[in-house]
């Protein structure tokens, strides 16, 4: 993983939308007096969503002032959590899990499909802002490995072909169906149940 630093080019300013501002105030109100800073992670997350998927420098200052924190404290947190992107991402952010279980089940093929369909380099926006991809650590869906995340949806039980189809659908504007791509309902055994067969559903 490369060092996590703010992008070189930054927008001039950041301001919460009225809805997000109201939501942020609600989050802050959850914490007892003097502990408002505890709301920082959900607030940065919401701000990132508003910004189109990444964290900007003016955003850190706005949040610092909102929570009464010095800028450096917000900066520390934004550079620590990998779920905060520090550079612009595509409208579709494809996050491929490459941690051990996914890797053993063939995430290399999924990464290869991303390289083929989206572009050769991770953390790079292709297709005029359409999409970007990156490798991430475990997303907690190991039973359906390999998998990737697009936006807030999981796509599971992938291989090279199904990943390419998925990405082709995405490119053509279709909405691919989230979840298992081999028709599993959740994480039951492939090819139907192996135990408790006599129990009627």
């Amino acid at each position: 993983m490369s060092a996590r630093r703010l992008a070189a080019e930054q927008p001039a300013s950041f301001a919460f939308t009225p809805e997000n501002l109201a939501w942020a105030k609600q989050q802050i109100a959850k914490y007892p007096a003097g502990r408002q800073a505890s709301a920082i992670v959900p607030i940065i997350w919401r701000a990132q969503e508003q910004q189109g998927g990444y964290v900007t420098e003016p955003m850190l200052r706005v949040i610092g002032e909102m929570l009464g924190l010095s800028y450096i404290r917000v900066y520390e947190i934004a550079t620590f959590y990998t779920m905060f992107n520090l550079a612009p991402v595509g409208r579709h952010l494809v996050q491929v899990c490459t941690t051990t279980p996914c890797m053993l089940r063939g995430s290399d093929d999924v990464v290869a499909a991303c390289k083929k369909m989206i572009g050769p380099k991770p953390h790079t926006v292709y297709g005029e802002g359409l999409w970007s991809w990156m490798e991430v650590e475990c997303l907690g869906a190991c039973v359906n490995a390999p998998m990737l995340q697009i936006g807030s949806d999981y796509y599971e039980d992938l291989d090279a072909a199904s990943t390419e189809k998925l990405l082709a659908d995405l490119k053509s504007g279709k909405a691919p169906k989230p979840g298992s791509q081999i028709g599993r309902h959740s994480s039951e055994p492939r090819g139907g149940p192996t135990t408790l067969k006599e129990v009627k559903a």
């Binding site: 450096i72 900066y75 520390e76 550079t79 620590f80």
Partner: protein, 707 residues
């Protein structure tokens, strides 16, 4: 108290001690990088690992001794042996060696070019726990250097992430500016977007850094610690009398470091005290000058003295005056006073800023609470006092009072960021008289140990004496002084800005009964009633006020006074002569000579002694010892060095003599005494480092960087 074995020997120790402190208390040395007595405990370097045997059984793994207290151990069961801390077993050694190996993985092997070399904790501890080779065959990490301002040089690849600097900035300096970004393998210490650290105490992170990541920028690559001659002395940049060590090589001061003194400066000094030293080399007066045909010309001591003698003989004593500046040691002040008294000169003053102090008892101009005890105060009223610029180390103490027990700090004066919450009372000094029933008076009254600090911003006004009186009255009403104070508590304090002031006041360098004070002298010059002025290091007054008077300037630097002078007598700076300074709490401390004065310059008292001979009024001391004997006779409390006066017994009569009745001009707003922290005296004004700091922090440079 709790019984515990340390390396097999039983000790009875305070259970609130950490294991590291317990081991240190019985003389066992524990290596450490992140732990520091005056900072919060981080426990992240893991160098202080020890083995804890509970009930005779070995523990599961080594323990970071800085982060656990003795009382964290479970109680000893009946019939079982005591718990034992083991600091010297093979397991401990192996554990520490492992930590050291990890610390050295990414640490560069650049000791030969590192300024920390020779005084580096990592270097020293690697001698005990390091390996002679590395098993790490990958590339070392490289970290870009950061800009932290003109004082602190960074070589961030050397950083071992102890976070001492972060904790210092956040806790002691009160500027939450340093942080660790990219926590994890790519952790780096920086300020937000690399702007200069906005603190007057920033230089202390250089001392705190256990490796060579943060070093002194002005001192970079100039000397090695072992080639420096170290002199323990006293700082004169403010009136605290911070304990410092001056490191010199040959004739030059190479750097200034703090010394630990729990009751004065703990182990911090301000950036001005630390980085002033390049000012000791520039703008120096190294030979006497005499003004001939309107131009200053180099002269011999004899010519200079002859010029003075001619003028003195032609002038009546009432038409002569002498002023003492901010940096003069007591020896020089006494010599000047003795000479002037012998000549019959009544017009003497040591208050070049016109402060309304010095009349009445000593308590009226001292920091009576004492610097070490002010942190126990639970409500502190600052009157025309900005401790952040007037005494940054004291400001850290006040911040500590707020951190430690939530002391309420109230301030009368122009709003300022003091690094802790302050209840601003506005800038109208007249409210001191209208305090009854007000909220601030109630806060002070309710406090157990209330204190007030009167600054030069209030005392140098025309109505300074009336403010002083009002402050004493308020102090009496709120239990700061007099019988109301708890257990001998005295909360009445004056914070001086001049290191020489208290000593000169103690010596009574004040107008004689028929004499003029500073205002009278200036007026007298204007009215051609004063023809001769002797300035002992006086540079903070407008020299245009010297009119047509014949001005003798004795001092170390070619600053405002020397520029105006008719005769210049080159004196020694504070690092170049042995002299006693009385700090703002009335603590006498001796500054020592680290280097010799340049060129023809001489020690201040010796110049006055020589001049007295030429003037036919030979002073009765031939050496410093004889002079100090007389000094002790005049000011008996000089006899005991490094002792602040005991809190005086409550005595209402004594306090009645302080200050003067009179109107307080509410229309005139209270302002700070110091406009530019970095340029308060001639040495600072000669320093390029201080000029750079002033430009950066007060010239708008900082704001631009933060935006």
């Amino acid at each position: 108290m709790t019984k515990i074995l340390i390396d097999g020997v039983e000790h009875d120790l305070d259970p609130t001690l950490t294991m590291l402190q317990a081991c240190e208390a019985v003389g066992k040395e524990i290596p450490r990088f992140c732990y520091h007595e005056r900072l919060s405990i981080a426990g992240n370097c893991r160098m202080c690992l020890i083995e804890v045997k509970m009930g005779g059984r070995p523990g599961p793994k080594p323990v970071a001794s800085c982060a656990q207290q003795l009382r964290d151990l479970p109680p000893v069961k009946e019939g079982q042996p005591l718990h034992e801390l083991v600091t010297n077993s093979a397991i401990v050694k192996k554990a520490r060696e492992g930590v050291m190996e990890f610390l050295l993985l990414n640490h560069p092997l650049d000791c030969p070019i590192c300024d920390q070399g020779g005084e580096c904790d990592l270097q020293d501890q690697a001698m005990a726990y390091g390996m002679d080779h590395s098993r790490f065959s990958e590339n070392k990490r490289a970290v870009p250097d950061k800009y932290l301002g003109p004082l602190i040089k960074t070589i961030m690849t050397r950083c071992i992430h102890c976070t001492r600097c972060i904790r210092f900035a956040a806790e002691v300096a009160g500027v939450d500016e340093l942080g660790a970004i990219g926590r994890g393998e790519d952790m780096e210490i920086t300020t937000y977007l690399e702007h200069a650290m906005a603190s007057e105490l920033s230089g202390n992170v250089i001392d705190l850094c256990p490796v060579g990541a943060l070093t002194s920028k002005p001192y970079a690559f100039t000397a090695r610690p072992w080639e420096l001659r170290k002199t323990e002395t006293i700082d004169v940049m403010d009136a605290l009398g911070s304990n410092i060590r001056v490191d010199a090589r040959g004739r030059e001061v190479m750097r200034i470091l703090p010394r630990n003194h729990d009751d004065v400066n703990e182990e911090w000094i301000s950036d001005k005290s630390r980085f002033i030293w390049d000012g000791l080399r520039r703008q120096r007066l190294d030979t006497p000058y005499v003004r001939k045909n309107g131009k200053l010309a180099k002269a011999s001591w004899g010519e200079a003295f002859a010029a003075i003698a001619a003028k003195v003989r032609a002038t009546k004593p009432e038409r002569m005056a002498a002023l003492v500046g901010d940096l003069a040691p007591m020896e020089a002040v006494m010599a000047l006073k003795d000479l002037m008294v012998a000549l019959g000169v009544p017009n003497l003053d040591c208050r070049q800023d016109g402060a309304a102090i010095g009349l009445g008892p000593r308590e009226g101009y001292l920091f009576n609470t004492r610097l070490g005890d002010i942190e126990d105060a639970d409500a502190i009223l600052l009157i025309g006092c900005n401790p952040r610029t007037e005494a940054p180390v004291l400001n850290a103490r006040l911040r500590k009072a707020w951190l430690k027990h939530d002391a309420k700090i109230l301030r009368l004066g122009a709003p300022a960021d003091l690094t802790y919450p302050v209840m601003e009372l506005g800038d109208d000094p007249a409210i001191l008289r209208k305090s009854s029933g007000s909220e601030f008076a109630r806060i002070l009254k309710d406090a157990k140990r209330p204190a007030l600090i009167l600054g030069m911003g209030a005392l140098t006004r025309g109505d300074g004496a009336a403010i002083l009186k009002a402050a004493v009255t308020l102090g009496g009403e709120t239990g700061m002084i007099g019988p109301g104070g708890e257990g001998g508590w005295n909360g009445f304090n004056v914070l001086h800005t001049a290191a020489a002031r208290v000593g000169a006041l103690d010596l009574g360098f004040l107008p004689a009964e028929s004499g003029r004070d500073i205002f009278g002298i200036v007026q007298g010059i204007g009215e051609h009633a004063i023809d001769f002025v002797y300035l002992l290091g006086v540079d903070e007054i407008d020299m245009a006020l010297m009119g047509n008077a014949f001005v003798v300037y004795q001092g170390s630097h070619g600053d405002r006074g020397a520029e105006r002078a008719d005769v210049i007598l080159p004196g020694a700076a504070y690092t170049e002569q042995s002299g006693i300074y009385m700090n703002t709490e009335g603590r006498a401390q001796r500054a020592n000579r680290a280097v010799f004065p340049p060129g023809e310059a001489k020690e201040d008292w010796a110049i006055l002694r020589a001049l007295s001979d030429v003037l036919g009024k030979r002073l009765p001391y031939d050496d410093l010892i004889a002079l100090r004997k007389k000094l002790v006779l005049e000011v008996p409390h000089v006899a005991v060095l490094d002792k602040a006066p005991e809190t005086p017994a409550p005595d209402a009569a004594l306090w009645r003599e302080i200050g003067a009745a009179g109107p307080i001009d509410g229309g005139q707003k209270l302002t700070d005494a110091i406009a530019d922290f970095y340029l308060t005296n001639p040495i600072a004004r000669a320093s390029a480092t201080m000029a750079e700091c002033s430009r950066l922090h007060l010239g708008g440079g900082l704001k631009a960087a933060a935006e």
